[in-house]
Symmetry: C3
Subunit: 461 residues, 3 copies
Amino acid sequence: MTAASPEKDQYTSDGGAEHIRPVIDTLDPEATGAEMHALIRELYPICRSITGDGVRRSLRILRRIASLTLHEVPTGTAVFDWVVPREWNLVKARLVGPDGEVVVDADRLNLHVLNYSVPFRGKVPLEELDKHLHSLPNQPSLVPYRTSYYKDDWGFCLSHERRARLRPGEYDVLIDTSLTEGSLTYGEALLPGASSQEVLISAHCCHPSLANDNLSGMVLAATLARLLGGLPLHYTYRFLFVPGTIGSITWLAHNEEQARRISHGLVVAGVGDAGRLTYKRSRRGTTEVDRAVIHVLASSGQDYDVRDFTPYGYDERQYCSPGFDLAVGSLTRTPHNEYPEYHTSGDNPDLVRPDRLVDTLRRYLEVFEVLEGNLTYVNLSPKGEPQLGKRGLYGSIGGGSQTVASQMSMLWVLNLSDGSRSLLDIAERSKLPFTDVRRAARALEAAGLLRVNDSSGEGAR
Amino acid sequence: MTAASPEKDQYTSDGGAEHIRPVIDTLDPEATGAEMHALIRELYPICRSITGDGVRRSLRILRRIASLTLHEVPTGTAVFDWVVPREWNLVKARLVGPDGEVVVDADRLNLHVLNYSVPFRGKVPLEELDKHLHSLPNQPSLVPYRTSYYKDDWGFCLSHERRARLRPGEYDVLIDTSLTEGSLTYGEALLPGASSQEVLISAHCCHPSLANDNLSGMVLAATLARLLGGLPLHYTYRFLFVPGTIGSITWLAHNEEQARRISHGLVVAGVGDAGRLTYKRSRRGTTEVDRAVIHVLASSGQDYDVRDFTPYGYDERQYCSPGFDLAVGSLTRTPHNEYPEYHTSGDNPDLVRPDRLVDTLRRYLEVFEVLEGNLTYVNLSPKGEPQLGKRGLYGSIGGGSQTVASQMSMLWVLNLSDGSRSLLDIAERSKLPFTDVRRAARALEAAGLLRVNDSSGEGAR
Amino acid sequence: MTAASPEKDQYTSDGGAEHIRPVIDTLDPEATGAEMHALIRELYPICRSITGDGVRRSLRILRRIASLTLHEVPTGTAVFDWVVPREWNLVKARLVGPDGEVVVDADRLNLHVLNYSVPFRGKVPLEELDKHLHSLPNQPSLVPYRTSYYKDDWGFCLSHERRARLRPGEYDVLIDTSLTEGSLTYGEALLPGASSQEVLISAHCCHPSLANDNLSGMVLAATLARLLGGLPLHYTYRFLFVPGTIGSITWLAHNEEQARRISHGLVVAGVGDAGRLTYKRSRRGTTEVDRAVIHVLASSGQDYDVRDFTPYGYDERQYCSPGFDLAVGSLTRTPHNEYPEYHTSGDNPDLVRPDRLVDTLRRYLEVFEVLEGNLTYVNLSPKGEPQLGKRGLYGSIGGGSQTVASQMSMLWVLNLSDGSRSLLDIAERSKLPFTDVRRAARALEAAGLLRVNDSSGEGAR
């Protein structure tokens, strides 16, 4: 089963798939779920935004489990059609009512301040204040999350119930924020593989106290980086922790050449809620990563959903813009805006379930197993079936009605390995789990019945 | 929003779509429906056939609203595999019974005479007469429509109820018709556009007193010609009013070169009954006009049906014969032979509803809007999304869950405008109405973010 | 309707379709079913295996109705990855219990002996004997069919009920078999046609007393050879009666060049049970034979099923191995392993129904009609419809709502015969039975409106 060619010595003959599978099989769901959830709880109170110290503090916490590099891009830097904005930081934001009662205080929940509020201090009557308030009439107990990145404004977000109880009078507004020349911060972790082709994992890190969106994605990405770290893999894995939209645009603008080496990518967001897994296809729709994810979900035995690409959502919008058109999809649980707690104070750590985090983690690892192991083989005994029995690969008593799964996998691999079909093609057509197909191929390769086709197909390297 | 290039000055940069849309939006359904229905009632009593004065009189009435040219093709002219037949005219046709009672009289309903009956005058006994009678045992109160164009015969059509009451005896047959060297008449209206490529609208005009089939189509086609007349459109629009089969074959035989310039076409028939709209695809099945019609129907919010091409039906049979294979489909309401009144005296003006006529008219106009406006654009800021906010194209407060339709349209147009996808492609993929997609493209073009791709794709001109 | 070109004189202009259709139409279901069933009953008691006299005797019986050649391939011959095994013959196999009672005897049912058992004679205690017994706990009254071709072993198969009653003690084992240098026998019938391209019909002939699997297939294949014998057909028909797996591999290894001439093929097995017809596609999935079978089944008016190719099943596994990848599917009734009697003593002649045998036979003949008659024509009057009426091909009274099927067939053939579409394409698109489409083409050809396109498409020859 060892690889023969010198080039193959750099990595195993099925990429890192054989190294990723044990990581999956030995995952301790309870311990891993608890670790991930503890990190989310720790990160939750920090006031993040598209710039500022909240992002820096958060990424430094993730450094405990993954070696992130923090990049700073100065305010005013032109990035394609955009410009890196001033840096925003929150010191304090509080609204006090006519009778001196504290209506809202960002120290208690940072969603209360309109994200990117300009500083403001003064007394305003209710009718004036009202223009600066944001609430949800249809979800009266929840505080909404609102931003004003690109228009100077100040404001408070509060529950509609609280807003309804505001009495006329003068309100004391304190918004102690700063909007200054500074920089945009993003985190990056690179796991070099045998190939310079890359797998991109991107998580937005700009939301304040929202747990599923997207502390879940940030922690899952960092955990993936931890688990893959040190494994001898085929692909180079790049993890990005970027503020939404402006962050991915900034990275693309500064890494245009590098971006062309991204062979497969996934945007990680909303991966801890109780809903089923949902895959949103890349713009091209049927790339290898699209097929790998869908095969993993179809083989999971769980309910799942697949959506077509739309140019709305997370940073796949940027990676799939027509000037890049990368093979980047998004694997989430319930899609954004389809759960009632989305972008409200209801998206707190209680919404995120440790077991769902681990389930999503496992599917990401399985996708990597497919990408790493998706080789194309050639059947070296292609005329009729080879005699598996004499090689100990087939049962000796015939006529029975059961053919064990491993035998079916071998028959499928032999039948379809004509040098043009990858193992993922075979797994899709046979509806057998990729792992079984891959193992069958390895056994047949060891028996001298199969060799990797170096010159054709998506699995050729 | 005005076009820049000199070439574009000839017509607007999205063809005539921007001129057709206001026609749709300002349509007065009640007045238009009443006008169309009044014309149908006026045309109803005329005895049309594939030749003769009935067609001439009918087309002259339509000249009130559209500038039709009448063409006369002499009897005996060879047209492909066919020959233009003798001209038929009806003076009088009456059947009088043994007791002197008038059994049927074409003056009361011209369906009573077998269309194209040879002249006959004489007394015949019932048993002889019976061979010349046509009725509908399963629809005993209705008079059928029957023809004998290519075999010399005479006959009467009557209700089965009336036929059952015929008593033995001598019947007095008077069929005062003429079959003489004359000509075949067809009408044509041409609205020249910026391009020599044509849109064909074809209606058969040969049926006698049948309202839905096809006075509805004749009047709808003439109304379209009236509404489009004078608009600065991209395509040249050709309206044909031809006797079924022999008429379209005659036109094709005499306009073979011209026929090759037909880029898109629709056969108009049965467009006023209460049923849902039905589209019958062209022989090729997925041409631009097929896709345009289906998109319009899918966006209408109403029930509709799509059928595959069959070589049976109306004149699409001829336009889609393999020697032409034009992109011509047929947009009707209930298909021929699927409503009980079809080809009977039940197809009278009461079967045709003014509101249904206007609904169909509107869909034809929407199809033209799509064809005219189906340009292919190139995103001039293709790396990442351009910043719509700074151009006033995007709301300033973020985080909310609603993205207005116009923003979604813009995001779709930007994402897919890579020079290979037309606006119809984008409308189909996004499932957004074409009008919204077109308006988004125009706004983005005005903002300098998009330009028309002159060199590729179906929308390139 | 006679063919004009000299080349065509060799065979009729639509291959042998016009000769096969009368065979179908004149089939006497009762007599044919009775004949086939009688043969199955006669063949049933013979102990067949992958080698040996059982196969020879069986094929000689089939020679009564089809001129089979018997081939002998010596033990030890290398065939691709395999070697022809020693020849196995059964003289006697009997198991006697402690009290002298005969537990099982292969003379009564040859399934009782493990097929390919090595000779063995001696007394063994029950606990030792037990390792050599095979039964079905979930089907306790049935005797299973088991083999040990490639591992030296001996054994008995018996009902689980009988096994449960075995008492401790010494058992007298008599397995009088021989495993010697000999040969593998297969049968072959060749019906030469005008073309050297072949249609392959392959039936496995290695199973002992199992009626549906596959005496039904053997007898059906031989009956097809009888019915087609002497007809002037386009294709050459090759019938193979081969032991499963090793037999088809042997044939392929010895006929590699010949195998490349197989244009279409079907594996015949399990064709007499009461279940619906099931088609398993070839590996390529949409070859002409796949489409022909599916069209025949879809036109049959009966329930049927279509399955995708899998590399498990009968000898299609070998014909569709990647080194050959022939267009060979399999038309059966209930697929192997999906009926409870499969590979048990329940698969006896009572399971096979004469009417089902004839129904399957008929479908095979209809498939051959399609393959033989699947020509591609060119409409010689392609501009507009030709005037069928003046040629007596169309009714004279128009306006009625019924178009007879023959007219629709003619319109479809005329419309689609542009030299690129075969009659099967037309039958599929029109959903008309192939026979009707073929007859319409012949009538139009006779009227001078159509000619065979010799230079393109699948039907070109």
